[in-house]
């Protein structure tokens, strides 16, 4: 048994009182969970503490909170581990971010998380005709989508999403991972429609800023950002030239490196809008003019650098691009499916042992 100091963020929007910190000292073994700590405080000291929980085994996804600044499941975080994340003296527990607080540690998942999940049509739309018996699908394709199926809808990734922090309309990591669960499923019939919807939405998949917050937040290894990158890659295959310039930016970037070897920023901007003379590009480039002028004045950007190409990709580099881009099928190593050599070795050894 050890003593732990819990500092809980309390707030009841139905009263006039501002949010405040509430401290309780609880006694538990260090390997017990933060949730058990909160429940002890609730049972012993103050029955009015608001916390949502059910399974206590990291399956139901009800007890998502922020513990010493990091999102996670209260039932899946040991007290000693939680303590080590902070200053080593106190365990601070707050409600998740990006969602309104209903009371204390309980946030309104309906208002944000579920609404977004519903927006991506979270069910399978069968290919017709439905086979008489089962659908046959590649093992690899199914293992791939099981990664997003592992989501328990706890909202930890939504809580930490930095794009949603500035754009609450952003579809967000959980819903986009859910979208990939169907876009990656060979049995689904509406891959193109799904992708087009996500690509054309001004707050859709191209608003993800690559910050990796959701990857670190997820207690189930869903890798939401990785799924978003897959959605974008597939939208590229369908050549969905979205109004947000997601497709154009990606292609402009790749071509820029193929041409120059190094990134030539002065070309990337107009090309991302469809080229210097594209109707979409003109207003964007005019808006960027003050930035360019300031850059020129500070000798950050020189006219030669802006107009000429200081670097050129070598023939050899261009040949690499052409070889890999020219393959009939794109090759993608999915570590979630194939695993690391290191992880596979003991398994292989064990099998050999069993056979021997």
């Amino acid at each position: 048994m050890a003593e732990f100091k819990l500092r809980l963020r309390r707030y009841d929007p139905e009263t006039a009182e501002a949010p405040y910190w509430d401290e309780h000292t609880i006694e538990l073994d260090p390997h017990r969970s933060v949730l058990e700590g909160i429940l002890q405080a609730k049972g012993r000291f103050d029955g009015s503490i608001g916390i949502r929980c059910s399974c206590r085994a990291a399956i139901c996804g009800s007890c998502g909170v922020r513990i010493n600044g990091q999102p996670g499941l209260a039932c899946h975080t040991h007290l000693d581990e939680a303590l080590a994340r902070g200053d080593g003296k106190v365990i601070e527990v707050e409600p998740m971010g990006n969602m309104p607080v209903i009371k204390d540690l309980i946030v309104d998942m309906d208002a944000v998380h579920w609404k977004k999940v519903q927006s991506v049509t979270p069910w399978l739309i069968n290919k017709e005709p439905i086979p008489e018996r089962e659908y046959l699908v590649d093992r690899e394709a199914m293992v791939d989508v099981t990664q997003s199926m592992a989501c328990i809808q706890c909202g930890a990734c939504v809580s930490d999403c930095l794009a949603m922090e500035v754009d609450p309309e952003f579809t967000g990591p959980a819903a986009l991972a859910k979208a990939y669960r169907f876009v990656g499923d060979p049995r689904d019939d509406e891959h193109y429609e799904r992708l087009r919807y996500l690509a054309e939405d001004p707050d859709g998949m191209y608003t993800c800023t690559h910050c990796f917050k959701c990857v670190d937040a997820c207690p189930k290894g869903v890798n939401p950002m990785g799924q978003i990158m897959r959605l974008r890659r597939l939208a590229g295959d369908y050549e969905i030239k979205d109004r947000n310039n997601g497709y154009r930016h990606e292609h402009a970037f790749v071509n820029n490196i193929r041409r120059n070897g190094l990134l030539h920023e002065a070309d990337l901007l107009p090309d991302s809008y469809g080229g210097k003379f594209h109707p979409n590009a003109v207003p964007e480039l005019l808006a960027s003019l003050p930035v360019v002028i300031r850059g020129l004045l500070r000798r950050k950007i020189t006219p030669a650098k802006a107009l000429l190409h200081p670097h050129k990709a070598s023939k050899e580099l261009r040949a690499l691009f052409d070889k890999i881009e020219g393959q009939d099928e794109r090759y993608e190593l999915n570590l979630y499916v194939v695993g690391d050599d290191k992880d596979n070795e003991p398994a292989a050894a064990a099998t050999e042992g069993a056979n021997g």
Binding site: T209, C211, F212, M229, R298, I301, D341, K342
Partner: protein, 301 residues
Amino acid sequence: MKVAYWPGCVSRGFTPELHGAMAQVAPLLDIELIELDRANCCGAGVIAEHNQELADTLNARTFAMAQQTDGELMMNICSTCQGAQSECQERLDANAVYRERINSSIGDNGLHYEQGIVNKNFLWVLVEEIGLENLRGLVKRPLTNLKVGPFYGCYIIRPHDRIGIDDEHPRHTYLEQVIEALGGTVIDYAGSHKCCGFPIITMNKTASLKQAGRHMGDAVEADADCVVTPCPLCHLNLDLQQPIAAAIVARQLGMPVLHLPQLVGLALGLSPKELGMGRHIVKPNTVIDWSQSVVASTAAA
């Protein structure tokens, strides 16, 4: 120490002062830079988004070039390069069959990637190779009372397991440690470990610059004199775009943003001009206005 040096694209493009500052600072730290001048863009996550094998091949090419030098390790000066290259390295190192496939592509040019390259950002080299004690000893002009807000850039701190953050390597705290070692005061503010917004500047400009504007506004409110970053792409959004970001968040900003080698260079006695500090959009007056600057007054004293 000798390092195979990958400066990245933006440090030679729209933030040329970064590459210049690194060249000035390296000899003072006894780092010999073997520049990988035939290497290519890391893909910044965008090429990987388009075609993973292409990104892995491009970075394997860079790694192989680094392994041909006699550098002790490979060093970069860009958070985004660090993250994008670490991602590719994870796949290359995980699977021998895949590595062979990639090696057969780059092999035509006499290149071969051996599993397990050590690729470190300048920030990690400072703390893990040079050491903070050594660094402290080299300081000629301590940044006494200079209030510096760290800004890491996502790619160098997340995902934490790929980036190698553990008890022994608390890499998400290195900027604070370096600022302190240089004699400066660390400013704790909300945005230090958040996203600058740069990756979506062409897709959702408002959301992108709201991030930059909000973080710089938070640094202003926390009373920082300047912000320091190891990432030139962050620098584009935080400095080059700052006037537009300020308009979007409707806040007065004027927050100077220094590249990491510039901050180190100032403390090691280099002049702001040598470090290219005149090339910033937000003039670093709070840092180098010698009539008022705490840095200058310490130098005089």
